[in-house]
């Protein structure tokens, strides 16, 4: 059985199910000091004075430092994405020095011999603040005379980025159907189960920093830029990392400060966040106000789509903050053909926690808008929502297809995925039940929501990133080392935090090299072990890192082929490689296993001229294009019209993520993605009050779904290989999240259309559904 496509159980699990894990907080070298942060209780205030003297006198306290104390060395946290030339990029000190701009911003820290003492001493730090006007609402923030987050900037606008294609005036002029909508993508808190943690150990001029991060390589470079500690003196390790979802794709102040404190104190320094401080201090996701207009003909053909965004940056621009909504710019047209498309996005500063990537990063927001519009278009025309999509989507014969947003979709088959989903869902039966419930005025109404999505992943072709002014490339690195005994070490620059790379990468190497799965060990997540990499985010690992490994394996095989041909005294062209063995065509018994070739390469007694000893390879793979997973998701909800409560009755997801390396892992990614997308639709929202205080600081208020709140999903796949890489893979990490949010909201609105309801803002809480019903009924 070939390894690619096989539901291998995961190599990672043994340590995780027995508790023998290496979470960063598990590591406490002898002499470790513990850090606790004092955070601003104000959303916006001037810091007049920070008095740390009393705190310094507390038992077990080693140091107490304010932002001012570290001002000379702490630098500014980086933003790697200058999206426009005139983008306003405020300085962002790891600890605030003279002004705080969001509640939860670090103001001072205590370093103590134990965590309890550190937290106790925070209460003895005395800070005088002068409150300043607070900017909470984006739409007010961009009006003339608005209060300012950064007084010296004279505006709350960071940038405006535009894209236009086609003749929008022609598309909109006399359009028989014009839908104009305002959608709000509420602010979310990523909430990886493992809170952030960082440990920095000094060793002379060298520093080893363990962090619960998705990006050990980017972090290492950025720490060096920020602190001016030379890059080669910093080793970053991402040990077991308990989920990220984008929230650990960041260079956090606490990471920079761990390094500075370890240098200053000459001892290991550790910080682990509590959930309630994390909710304020981990970057948030989403938070856009979308004004969209869709023009269509009477037969449902889309003419044009106009998108105007306000994107909440929060108080500062972090690693890729300004670029996140722009990833959506390419996805608003979705799978549809149209004549004109325009997009503009203004990044707005507010006195809130900075936003940045959260699972999907820009694409869920875009997909939500277009898929909500397509359902509304169907309703407007009295056409089935599937039919309206059929009339507009790119047919499978039309690939490769240049989208109106400037992307080239390589492959896809929207018809096949949709047909499969409809059959699994029992679409016609559910529609019949819906009619029946409407007829007898059942207090519990049924709604059906459709989402036919595509997304761009496999981030990213470096040249494209360059054209978007991103500060780095999008390649990935892999090394393959065949050890003298024939066992294999694979080194990948893409470090997993739950995705199962140790298993899937071993499958690829096993398949390509013809060695047993058990003979492959995957190494990652340590810059001393895996020195090159661009890390894990944007559903890129397999499509870029997996392809790097695929190519590195093939490179090893090619080198082995040269050696084998030499040893067998045959021509390379006459050698066949299969099942881990080179054989001479037509002479079955004449052959060498890859292990035998490895021994020869190790001994190097008899190698062809010019061939170096040992069997290994390195590949840095830069993709030529993005990849474009797609699929059709169908959701049926039961809405209690008396209480407003929504229950998901059926959920079918048919995804096309290209070739599948491990179907078990792929299905798991889809399940988890669905849960997070559904949670945006129904449960989650970071709520700020008028003073800029986050009111959802705990899990008692920021509601995450438990097993009791979610349905059993029906998942299936179609498999249209990607054309842009030799594995045919696309990426699956974010698909479920991107597709599911609009499917759920479409279903709720579908249930309530007879009551005059056209939209329900997210999250669609029972109260919001009830309010929409009252307002709809009054209309």
């Amino acid at each position: 059985m070939t390894e690619i496509g096989r539901a291998r159980l995961r190599s990672e699990d043994a340590r995780l199910v027995t508790g023998r894990t290496r979470w960063t907080d598990n590591l406490t070298p002898a002499g470790t000091l513990h850090v606790a942060y004092l955070r601003s209780p104000h959303a916006h205030a001037r810091i007049d004075r920070v008095d740390v003297e009393a705190a310094k006198g507390r038992p077990n306290v080693v140091a107490v430092l304010s932002g001012a104390d570290l001002a000379a060395e702490q630098g500014a946290l980086p933003c790697a994405w200058q999206v426009t030339e005139d983008m306003r990029l405020p300085a962002h000190p790891p600890m605030a020095v003279d002004e705080v701009r969001y509640a939860g911003e670090p103001v001072a820290c205590v370093v103590a011999r134990d965590r309890y003492s550190a937290v106790d001493a925070l209460e003895d730090i005395d800070v005088d603040y002068t409150p300043l006007p607070v900017v909470v609402d984006m739409e007010r923030a961009v009006q003339d005379g608005a209060d300012l987050v950064h007084g010296d900037m004279g505006t709350n606008e960071s940038y405006t980025w535009v894209f236009e294609q086609g003749d929008m005036d022609a598309a909109m002029r006399d359009a028989p159907v014009l839908l104009e909508r305002r959608f709000v993508q509420q602010r979310l808190i990523p909430t990886a189960m493992e809170p952030r943690a960082v440990l920095c150990e000094p060793d002379g001029e060298d520093f080893t920093l363990h962090s619960a991060t998705q990006i050990p390589h980017i972090l290492r470079l950025m720490l060096s830029v920020v602190t001016e500690i030379p890059e080669h003196r910093i080793r970053v390790v991402a040990p077991d990392v308990g989920g990220g979802f984008g929230s650990k794709l960041q260079v956090y102040g606490e990471e920079v400060l761990a390094l500075l404190l370890a240098r200053r104190l000459g001892r290991p320094v550790k910080w682990t966040e509590s959930r309630s401080e994390g909710n304020m201090a981990v970057h948030h996701g989403r938070d856009q106000i979308q004004r969209v207009a869709l023009a269509a003909d009477r037969d449902g053909r889309v003419r044009g789509l106009k998108v105007e965004l306000l994107a909440d940056m929060g108080a500062y621009l972090m690693l890729v903050t300004p670029g996140v909504p722009l990833l959506g710019a390419f996805m608003f047209p979705g799978i549809y053909k149209m004549d004109a498309y325009s997009f503009s996005c203004t990044g707005v500063f507010t006195n809130k926690t900075p936003t940045d990537a959260y699972r999907g990063a820009g694409r869920p927001e875009a997909t939500f808008a277009i898929e909500r519009l397509m359902d509304d278009l169907a309703a407007e025309l009295g056409v089935d929502p599937i039919e309206v999509r059929r009339r507009n989507w790119i047919t499978h014969e039309e690939f490769p297809y240049d989208s109106i947003a400037g992307l080239t979709y390589d492959t896809g088959n929207y018809e096949a995925a949709t047909d499969k989903a409809l059959a699994l869902f029992g679409y016609d039966e559910l529609r019949a039940e819906q009619d029946e419930r409407r007829e007898r005025r059942d207090p519990v109404q049924l709604g059906i929501g459709v989402s036919t999505y595509t997304e761009m992943c496999g981030l990213a072709p470096s040249r494209v990133l360059g054209s978007l002014a991103y500060g780095a490339g999008g390649w990935e690195h892999a090394s393959v080392r065949v050890l003298p005994s024939g066992k294999v070490e694979v080194v990948t620059g893409s470090s997993a935090h739950g995705q199962g790379h140790e298993t899937a990468w071993a499958q690829i190497a096993s398949d390509r090299l013809g060695v047993p799965f058990e003979d492959v060990k995957v190494l990652h997540g340590d810059t001393a072990v895996a020195p090159k990499g661009m890390d894990t985010y944007g559903s890129r690992s397999l499509a870029v890192g997996g392809v790097a490994l695929f190519r590195a394996c093939d490179k090893v095989v090619e080198k082995a082929r040269t050696i084998a041909a030499h040893l067998l005294e045959a021509s390379e062209d006459d050698l066949e490689f299969g099942g881990g063995r080179f054989s001479v065509k037509g002479v079955e018994e004449a052959g060498l296993t890859i292990q035998e070739v490895t021994q020869a390469a190790f001994a190097a007694h008899n190698l062809p001229d010019g061939v170096e000893p040992s069997l290994d390879s390195d590949v840095t793979h830069d993709p030529e294009n993005f990849s474009f997973p797609h699929g059709t998701h169908l959701c049926a909800v039961e809405v209690d019209t008396e209480t407003g409560f929504t229950k998901i009755r059926e959920y079918v997801a048919v995804d096309d993520v290209g070739t599948v390396v491990n179907p078990m892992i792929v299905e798991g990614q889809v399940h988890g993605g669905l849960a997070q997308g559904i949670a945006q639709a129904l449960y989650e929202e970071a709520v700020y009050d008028a003073d800029g205080n986050l009111t959802t600081t705990t899990m008692a208020d920021y509601l995450l779904p438990s097993a009791a709140d979610l349905p059993t999903f029906t998942t299936d796949r179609t498999e249209t290989p990607a054309a842009g890489n030799p594995l045919g893979v696309k990426g699956v990490g974010e698909a479920g999240t991107i597709a599911s949010t609009p499917a759920v909201v479409n279903a709720i609105v579908d249930a309530l259309r007879p009551f005059g309801v056209r939209d329900v803002p997210m999250p669609c809480t029972p109260e919001r559904v009830w309010t929409a019903l009252r307002e709809g009924g009054a209309r």
């Binding site: 106790d120 209480t643 449960y683 509601l703 009791a708 809480t765 029972p766």
Partner: protein, 286 residues
């Protein structure tokens, strides 16, 4: 986060506990299961000087038959209460509502008396105690025993009629006789979220008429409240869907529901009406 420092006392008997309480002072807290108190300590929303841990006072854990009533010891855990044969038989509303409190692990630690003494109007059990006309049994070293009816026990938001040196030792629940039906209708956004509104009701029917009806509302004010207008409208009348519907419309009368993240006051009032109708329907379905 990390709790602040406190003194810790662990009496071995009720008498010792009662002697310790006055000395522990105004800022002492009684620790039962700790499932409400520990989060408050960890978030540093409470700074007690002293915790008096009742864990070793075994007598407070008992659930016993007391003639026409049950007495549930204050530190009987939720897990114990909801599985107790006496409670299931004679106070099924308590068993049913307790099963909706938090989750299994919290129910293993959290206690019946602790939930009542915590007096969070969003908690499920205060409204149940109120609906059942439960009587709180309190004791102090100085004042001896005191019986406090549930309606007098909940004084204000997270405030009870207990004196600082007084301990809730148990709760007397009248036994349900024939003809009674019960239901607790809890409405929350996710399984582990607090109730936005809850309705606890007890109805006794005699030959198709509502002989006695008691309704306690969760999270419809700073304390749990009785839906008195509904009780008055229904009491003594023939039971019908129309009568339930009409009476339930009065469920929010004389309430002052809070407005917070999870619901406006207006929405809570609406829910109280809908859920009261459903709770009454379920309680009278048999």
């Amino acid at each position: 986060m990390i709790p602040p420092t406190f003194e810790y006392l662990r009496p071995e008997s009720l008498g010792e506990a009662l002697r310790m309480l006055p000395d522990a002072g105004e800022d002492a807290k009684v620790l039962a299961g700790g499932q409400s108190l520990m989060p408050l300590l960890r978030l540093r929303l409470a700074y007690p000087d002293t915790l008096v841990d009742l864990d070793r006072v075994a007598a407070l854990r008992e659930i016993r038959d007391d003639g026409d009533a049950l007495v549930v010891g204050a530190t009987a855990t939720h897990h114990q209460v909801m599985n107790d044969p006496l409670v299931r038989r004679f106070a099924p509303l308590v068993a049913a509502a307790t099963a909706t409190v938090a989750d299994p692990a919290v129910r293993h630690r959290g206690t019946f008396g602790g939930s009542l003494a915590h007096a969070d109007p969003a908690g499920d059990l205060p409204a149940v105690a109120l609906a059942l006309d439960a009587v709180m049994l309190a004791r102090s070293a100085s004042g001896g025993d005191r019986e406090i009816p549930a309606r007098d026990f909940f004084v204000d938001w997270m405030t009870t009629a207990l004196e600082p040196d007084e301990l809730l030792t148990g709760v007397r629940l009248p036994k349900a006789g024939p003809g009674w039906g019960f239901h607790y209708e809890k409405f929350h956004r996710t399984a582990q979220a607090w109730a936005i509104v809850g309705v606890a009701c007890a109805v006794r029917r005699v030959q198709g008429a509502v002989e006695d009806v008691r309704i306690g509302l969760t999270n419809m004010g700073s304390v749990p409240v009785r839906a008195s207008a509904v009780e008055e409208r229904l009491g003594g009348n023939a039971l019908s869907d129309g009568a339930l519907r009409e009476a339930s419309e009065l469920a929010a009368e004389d309430t002052a529901p809070p407005a917070d993240l999870h619901g406006s006051a207006e929405y809570r009032s609406h829910l109280a009406r809908v859920l009261t109708r459903r709770a009454l329907g379920a309680a009278t379905a048999r």
